[in-house]
Symmetry: C2
Subunit: 145 residues, 2 copies
DNA sequence: CTCAGTGCAAAGGATTTGCATGCCG
DNA sequence: CGGCATGCAAATCCTTTGCACTGAG
């Protein structure tokens, strides 16, 4: 499974004529370890000495190759997570106070509804939906109290 | 209805000790006219001579007062729309090619499912959900072809 | 008179890019 | 050898802020 992850990543990079270097592998490693999207500062902290510019650049490459996905919330930093087909379909709990993002899954029945909505919207508006994004915005346990 | 909109906006600003000035009113006007969230450049274009800084500042005030909501997508600009309780609950079609954002509504059955999900998640994780955000990401008719 | 609002210009800060060097294939 | 990858530093660009002025109450 973890092996497959790296092989898949390598393959996708190759298909865009890019290499699966040590630093890129390390990024994938970090993202697959965490259970929630990571910010750049977090990723830099986990790799002492890693330069920002290469990290940004590598994440951009990984994004183009379809290995990672970039998320933007309302706080200052972009967040990254593994592409959906490399993990499991899930959604996000976004804390509007501290900006923290956590993962959660919706019941299959809800996902089926969403799939139907996507199909309906597509046929009625000419918009070709690739995927959906369902976030719950609120206050996390730590900020609530 | 339009009258109510401005009265409500004025009231909310007053409750934060702010005034409903001409430029703020104009912003609300523009947002209520458009059928999709607007970017700052768009709003500046619709008000020739309006300075950026005041526009940013006024939008921040309107956001704090709960009159408008700020959206971030994956493209460079922030977008603004009227607060949800001033319009109708809706969702967004986000074009991953050009960044355009359009509104759409989901069937009541789907909304009911989402409400249930919010309640469930809240009770199981200590996260207090305030609202949800459902976006379809894909390619708009213009970029598709 | 007081204090919020406005505009200009300058600062901030996450992200991107130029350029020279290192390294895989 | 050729071209991608890397790092440092400098540049970008949306957004925010400092400051002096205007205007509403």
């Amino acid at each position: 499974m973890t092996l497959d992850l790296h092989e898949t990543a390598a393959a996708r990079l190759r298909s865009v004529n890019q290499r699966y270097t040590a630093s890129r592998r390390a990024l994938v490693e970090v993202l697959s370890a965490g259970s929630a999207p990571s910010t750049i500062p977090e990723m830099l902290a986990s790799r002492p000495g890693a330069p920002q510019s290469s990290t940004y650049r590598n994440l951009a490459v990984l994004e183009q190759a379809g290995v990672v996905r970039r998320l933007v919330t309302n706080d200052a930093f972009a967040r990254f997570e593994l592409a959906e087909d490399l993990t499991e379909h899930h959604h996000h709990l976004v804390c509007s106070v501290c900006g923290a993002v956590d993962d959660f899954s919706a019941p299959p029945a809800v996902e089926r509804s969403l799939a139907r909505v996507m199909a309906d919207v597509a046929s009625s508006s000419g918009f070709r939906a690739e995927y959906h994004r369902l976030d719950l915005i609120g206050t996390c346990a730590r900020c609530d109290r």
